[in-house]
Amino acid sequence: MAGAPDWRGPGPAAGERRPHVACQAFPERLAQGKPQQGFLPSFSSNNQSCQLMLLKTLQTNPYVKLLLDAMKHSGCAVNRERHFACEDCSGNVSGGFDASVSQIVLCQNNIRSQAHMNRVVTHELIHAFDHCRAHVDWFTNVRHLACSETCVRDRAILSILAVRNISKEVAEKAVDDVFESCFNDHEPFGRIPHNKTYAKYAYRDFQNRDRYYSNI
């Protein structure tokens, strides 16, 4: 999920820019400064669990390691404290990419397992990677949003409908318009990484890219 993050808490309708997203979503943060550890016990343990799972994902998951390297190579080195935030979110959302501040939000109240964290971080890093390498108009161009969500047609449509107040027909048309191009854009993996073996091979190819391009 990407774009204007109304799932980060109550606020303006989808599509509007919000300069201070975190403050509007968490009024107690605005009043007290940074959240007090231990003041809200479930917040604290959810937050801690989220941070620990995130750290493990960043250190061990092959999809994520490739994405982090590719982003560093593109000039967008990822800093855990700056580019990730563990927060409570409304609804069933697992996470999102807040393009207005270039930050990935992880929904600590909805991510319950390491495997889930791995999938969410991979998914949101792909949005971040697209944001880093291209001029993606997250807020007003539904085709751009469709492109970043494209993997399986029906799921792309559902992802768009979750963050944009548009009709199903408009979402379907956007996905169909861009599907051929975006489905075949496998960057940075160079292939569809069906499982960790493919991701490891993709990472090997990425690390080998200098030798590759200088010898073809």
Partner: protein, 106 residues
């Protein structure tokens, strides 16, 4: 084609072997058929593996040409679809800047 004194195969020969084995695996057949509706074509990886080994053993110019052409075709195939969005020349300006909230706190 980058030919010169320092040329070497674009990938280590072991990488061609690994790709060929992966391509011929049952799991890959199922993934490929599900996505594309046809069986995968793996013979080129085998030809590239043979060319790589031939170059390693005998420095065959024919093997070098064959490998280069094969990899060129792969790169062309990957690039044939035009992107929906415009690539950036440099990363987003705000990527490394502090969050707006942190600026306020200062």
């Amino acid at each position: 084609m980058a030919e010169g004194a320092g040329w070497q195969p674009p990938r280590p020969c072991e990488a061609y072997r690994a790709e060929w084995k992966l391509c011929r695996s049952a799991g890959h057949f199922l993934h490929h058929y599900y996505v594309h509706g046809e069986r995968p074509a793996c013979e080129q990886w085998r030809r590239d593996l043979d060319s790589c080994r031939e170059w390693e053993e005998r420095r065959s110019a024919k093997a070098q040409r064959s490998l280069c052409e094969s990899e060129h075709r792969r790169v062309q195939a990957a690039r044939k679809h035009t992107l929906v969005w415009t690539p950036r020349q440099s990363p987003p300006a705000d990527w490394h800047l502090p969050l707006p909230q942190e600026e306020e706190d200062k």
